[in-house]
């Protein structure tokens, strides 16, 4: 880790100005990913602008019946927030399915969105990686890639986004509120993270010196929502695949559905093809299977991760079936 300067911002504008003036600088939030990457040599900022004490810590009701979540709301506080638990259970469950109690106490909402891939080549500075060092190559495609992408990857990069929280946010039509030197803007969560294409070093659409200040949630979708994650280890492990879903069923037919996959792509994967196939369809196992398969038809698995496709299909069907069940199955909501 190279030596760096440090400044603690007094307010949001000061933070943005400090970073805009320092080309080698980075924002420091909870630091659970950034400090890790600095130790690995993957990130080498010359200046850290500490935003950890900015008062972006509120979860606020919005007039449209949604929530505005400050970027510095800790993961554990977000998951435990009464409004989140009651109205967006998929989000609470997703946050709680990630990392450990200790990490969730430190990690922030904004930082969670901006965490970087856990691809083993990305984390090893002695090896090529297009995300870390554009143009150096992607050894994962032919190398160790069991945990990596099956959807939306490119010749340049097969990394996955590791967040659980972001998958639920994608399904819940969240938006990301950004503030930068040029003012504020709002980006839909589903458009916030990018597919790698030939610029895999860009994880998101965020611009230099732009700061995530909040995440906005619209009013909760009708029906119930849930998150389910499959992983090798029973806890404290990244997803092999995960599903966030919200489902509303009236008289046996799907009236509304939101579905997103995690662990499959460079971004949380909003399953719009599946949603389209389900809307108006009977809320049956057959419909769920057909919809999931329609979405996953686009999958291009690598040598060692084809199992993720059937795993994701099974998970989606499972979560939807549980949500459709009169008793809510295992993924019950209030």
């Amino acid at each position: 880790m190279r030596a760096f300067a440090y400044t603690r911002a007094g307010d949001v504008d000061e933070a943005i100005a400090a970073l805009a003036a320092s080309p080698g600088g980075m924002f420091l939030g909870g630091g659970t990913n950034l400090v890790d990457l600095m130790k690995l040599g993957v990130a080498s900022p010359g200046l850290l602008v500490d935003i950890g004490r900015l008062p972006l810590t509120e979860v606020r009701e919005t007039p449209d019946g949604g929530l505005r979540i400050g970027a510095n709301v800790r993961n554990s506080d977000l998951a435990a927030h009464p409004a989140v638990r009651a109205r967006y259970p998929a989000l609470s469950q997703a946050v709680l399915a990630g990392a450990s109690g200790q990490i969730r106490n430190t990690a922030t909402t904004g930082g969670n969105l901006l965490q970087r891939t856990r691809c083993l080549y990305f984390q090893d500075v002695a090896k090529p990686c297009n995300k870390r060092e554009p143009g150096s190559g992607c050894p994962a495609r032919e190398g160790v890639h069991r945990d990596l992408a099956v959807l939306g990857h490119s010749a340049a990069c097969v990394a996955t986004h590791p967040s659980d929280m972001a998958v639920a946010l994608a399904a819940l039509d969240a938006v990301v509120h950004l503030r930068g030197p040029g003012g504020e803007r709002t980006v839909p969560l589903c458009g916030f993270h990018r597919l790698p294409g030939d610029e895999p070093h860009r994880d998101t659409v965020i611009e230099r010196a732009e700061l995530v200040v909040a995440v906005g949630l619209p009013a909760p979708p009708a029906g119930r929502s849930a998150y389910r994650k499959a992983r090798d280890r029973a806890s404290y492990a990244f997803a092999l695949a995960s599903v966030a879903a919200a489902l509303d069923v009236r008289e046996g037919a799907v009236t509304d559905v939101r579905l997103a996959f995690g662990g499959l792509a460079h971004k949380p994967w909003r399953a719009r093809v599946a949603e389209e196939a389900l809307r108006g369809a009977p809320a049956t196992e057959e419909s769920f299977v057909r919809a999931a398969e329609a979405e996953l038809a686009a999958a291009e698995p690598l040598r060692d991760n084809a199992f993720k496709v059937s795993l994701a299909r099974n998970l989606a069907v499972r979560v939807l079936r549980d949500l459709a069940a009169p008793d809510g199955g295992e993924a019950s909501a209030p």
Binding site: V125, D232, L315
Partner: protein
Amino acid sequence: MSTPGPVRLEGREKVTGTARYAAEHTPPGTAYAWPVPAAVPRGRVVAIDTGAALAEPGAVAVLTHENAPRLKDTDDATLLVLQNDRVPHRGWYVALAVADTPEAARAMAAAVRVSYAPEEHDVVLAPGHPRLYVPETANAGVPGSRERGDFDGAYASAPVRVDATYTTRALHNHPMEPHATTARWEDGRLVAYDSCQGANAVQETLAGLFGMDKERITVVAEHVGGGFGCKGTPRPQVVLAAMAARHTGRPVRLVLPRAQLAAVVGHRAPLVQRLRLGAGEDGVISALAHEVTTHTSTVREFVEQAAVPSRAMYVSPNSRTTHRVVALDVPSPSWMRAPGEAPGMYALECAMDELACASGVDPVELRVRNDTAAEPDSGKPYSSRHLVECLREGARRFGWDARDPRPRSRAEGPLLVGTGVASSYYPVYLMPSSAEAHVTETGRYRVRINATDIGTGARTVLAQVAADALGVALDRIAVEIGSTALPAAPLAGGSAGTGSWGWAVHKACRALNGMVDARGGTVPPGGLTAGADTAGDVPSDPPDAKAAFGAQFAEVTVDRDTGEVRVRRLLGVFAAGRILSARTARSQLIGGMTMGVGMALLEGSTMDPRFGDFAERDLASYHVPTHADVRGVEAHWIDETDLLLNPMGSKGIGEIGIVGTAAAVANAVHHATGVRVRDLPILPEKVLG
């Protein structure tokens, strides 16, 4: 039921954070070191540019093969670090940065620029590898190959046959405390606080490497944060720290970064094991072949003796047990908890389950039918063997008799449920040791011995052995361990610590009592001291075979949608001689079984064919079990009296817990799903179908 025994003697220090480990001794002026691993899989170092590193604020020195102190030869070439330009495998250390602070040392290491002349590398273990050979001996000195009777003929004519190949990936010990040393030189004397399983071996090795009298070296290992074999012999950190301390003239602290361990401290080698069992309709084995293929490094030959259990477990009049190994450009394998037995019994005990299915004999009953009173390979009678009792008692406690043997016969919602059984086995090793017992005029006792407590409870059990031998209460005894300033003792390894150390402690205490008795029961001012050495007592070629046995029963759930396998219950019953300390013994047995759960379901690293390193090197990618993975683990034992072992009647218990677990779990997965997974770990994709 035995009483639980005393609380660990050093327990209070451990729960209050005052127990000091190797990296927690900080002599004034201590400098910090950080190693630089080779970034090519094989080749030569052609240049090292240390300019940028030495320009870092706080830089003290960079050691490379060009300026590091010269080492004398040793029989362990993995310790000959920074002696020449060769890179035998990726991750081999090519430089060591030393700085005033840990932050500066890390930054320096990142700034060292190494140029290499890479060479073609060969890192992939393949069963048909042209350079495979049969070693004369495998680990523990066992013969590389053994033939008894006519395997081919007996197998060909057997009515029931099983032919199955089991594969396992590289496994890593990953004790919670990474390898660490704090070293300082003073007036030509070396003091090293080292995280190791045996300080005498470290002292002797350092004496050889630095060409000095071992009396001038003190190695301290007062508290050690786990080892499981990978601290069994000296590892590079102690050599590097001593070199750096000599080079810089300052005390030096070196803690190996977690992600570098896989390359430099040893691993359990990947294995391909072919098992062939020929049996009668009754399941009794007539022919057994266990053929092991594995890798070693080009630095040092280490052959995991995985075929060994098949020489010991069951009736097998016609037997072939062989090891073949190839030296690849990979990190050097070494000991990991129950080397040989753990992976060998995984294969053998899965094959036994396959034989049970093929013959229609219940798996517990099958093992009972193949029990033997003598070790098949040596013909020596077992001094004690209660495998059948363990199987029966385990079956009773587990509720085995209610089991429907048909695969996929139990489901709970989305979960398939299955149960499986496997035997456990670990040989009894004993090593000579010395010890000293002292009594004061006021009747306080002090036992001194360079035993090492890597978490086994050595202090506590040795105090109990002493109390027993002396016939006094435990609270009158103090135990000093963990330093070469104490009477020499063997390492904590081979499940031999308690037996070997305890024998010497027992002998010293009895001698001390004799001295007191000879004085009519009085102790003079200044007290009395008795020393003991068991070098003449421990038989080198005993007439009987000695081993501990056990049986493990697992209940697993398999999620049919996700393929996630979880262990719901794991029950072991062991026959391991006299259990000296119930509290710590149970912990060790459960601990071994827990590591076995990791072996079955989670652990394994991939040799990256392009880069030549293990891909999963940190604790995020190499999954060891968490709290949530470990439910319902129980260990029980059968009291066994075996006076042929040692004066305490004990067998080792540090390793047998991990032996058989993976097979019990794999067999339960087969029972739950009908899928026979012959490749560990049992990851979701292997049962998803």
